[in-house]
């Protein structure tokens, strides 16, 4: 391999590996433990640098979401919930903040719906409920009034998210 070709490969790989790391918490965790295995071109970069950038990126996204969703934005600390949302969703291009906000609002809406259904199912006169949210079919079932309530959830096939979705 010529030195020129090697430099070319390294530059390209550095950018791709960096983009992958800052958009994937799982990849960042692996990078922190084994940098030369997870992202060889960035092995000389500290994992703290990558993590700091990724966290700043999340903070910027959340800031935009608070601006675009004023009702939700008035709520308290959304960082943990937003980080969970961001693990599987990284919109790009023009209008990405709007798409991010819409998806996050949908996520919070699913949270609220699941909590409400679970709570309603505890009423002894209800036979149960079904909901599809967060990639799962959640169910609550009571064979007759005031009988014991059974509940569970099953993963349902859905469009892939996360790393594979971000590569286009």
């Amino acid at each position: 391999m010529s030195a020129r070709f090697a430099a070319t490969t390294v530059t390209d790989e550095m950018q791709i590996e960096f983009a992958r790391l800052v958009t994937s918490p799982a990849a960042r965790a692996r990078f922190a433990n084994a940098p030369s295995e997870e992202a060889p071109a960035l092995a000389d970069l500290s994992s703290q640098s990558v993590t700091y950038y990724a966290n700043a990126l999340l903070a910027k996204r959340l800031h935009e979401i608070r601006r675009l969703l004023p009702s939700i934005g008035r709520r308290g600390d959304l960082r943990a919930r937003f980080a969970a949302h961001a693990m599987g969703f990284a919109p790009g291009g023009h209008g990405r903040h709007r798409e991010d906000a819409i998806a996050f609002a949908r996520t919070l809406g699913d949270d609220a719906r699941l909590d409400r259904l679970a709570l309603e199912a505890t009423r002894g006169d209800r036979f149960g409920a079904l909901a599809i949210a967060h990639g799962h079919l959640s169910w609550w079932f009571r064979p007759w009034k005031h009988a014991r309530l059974w509940s569970g959830r099953l993963a349902v096939p859905r469009r892939r998210t996360g790393e594979s979705e971000q590569r286009r």
Binding site: S46, L57, G92, R96
Partner: protein, 277 residues
């Protein structure tokens, strides 16, 4: 517009009424291009109003000129549509990449200072400039880290980019101040290295400290170090347009006006102190 360095600011909707009331307060407005890509009636009305009353300069954030994947043509189409509507003296974006290998970062990432990255940048800048006669300029970004394997200094990198592409420069002195703290880069060395004739615009802003890391949040008044660097840039590029950026913790307009006046006074002082050629 004033005889010396025009002084303006990044447009924030909150100050629209103030700008309309105090037309002389700004010589121009910098518009975030991306806010005007949606061709909805309200967006078009706002852009029309601004263009009618002010000289406007569009400044974009997502051309991702450092991406080997190249420019996203549909995005460039949209940017150029806005540029056509504004008819500015130039338009600009950043020395950065926001996507790579299909991953969308969604924010500006610094470019590795390698010859290969320079080739990519030059190719992408040429792609942009081939599509329009409006001059195109690039802004240095602030970074909290530097990619390994650097082959040249930031100033040499930018100097060579200008030599190869003929692009203009937007020097963000606040970002240089951040890089000084975060990376140990010398802002003066950067300013001295880049061709002064390419500098068309200067950004000044305040940052905030996050546990020893300087964050280019544009959230505070312009600090002394940034004024100091501005003076140095104005000295070498006396006709560059000076742009105040404030995006967070927006103060009352009179505080903004005070900083605009301070920029104007600084430019006049530097100009008057220059020995005629």
């Amino acid at each position: 517009m004033s005889a010396g360095s025009p002084v303006g600011m990044l447009f924030r909707k909150r100050y629209l009424a103030d700008h309309l009331r105090d037309r002389e307060g700004v010589d121009f407005l910098e518009l975030c291009t991306d806010h005007y890509l949606d061709n909805t009636p309200s967006v078009a009305d706002e852009l029309g109003l601004l263009v009618k009353h002010f000289t406007c300069v569009p400044h974009g954030i997502d051309l991702s000129l450092g991406s080997r994947d190249g420019i996203v043509e549909s995005y460039l189409d949209d940017v150029l549509r806005v540029v056509e509507q504004i008819r500015p003296p130039w338009f600009s974006d950043h020395l950065a990449f926001t996507r790579a290998g299909g991953y969308e970062i969604g924010h500006l990432a610094p470019i590795p200072l390698t010859r290969d990255a320079l080739d990519t940048l030059a190719r992408n800048v040429a792609r942009v400039t081939a599509r329009t006669r409006v001059p195109f300029a690039l802004e240095n970004v602030a970074a909290t880290f530097a990619f390994p394997h650097a082959e040249m200094s930031p100033g040499a990198f930018v100097r060579e980019l200008v030599a190869r592409t003929g692009c203009g420069l937007v020097i963000d002195v606040a970002n240089l101040a951040c890089d000084e703290i975060n990376l140990g880069h010398a802002p003066e060395a950067f300013i001295d290295a880049v061709p002064p004739e390419a500098i068309v615009q200067v950004h000044l802003a305040g940052a905030h400290d996050d546990g020893g890391i300087a964050v280019d949040s544009h959230s505070s008044p312009v600090p002394p170090r940034v004024w100091q660097l501005l003076e140095r840039v104005v000295d070498v590029a006396p006709h560059a347009w000076l742009t105040l950026e404030r995006e967070e913790a927006l103060p009352p307009y009179h505080e903004i006006a005070r900083e605009l006046d301070a920029a104007r006074a600084l430019a006049a002082r530097v100009r008057n102190g220059r020995v005629p050629a």
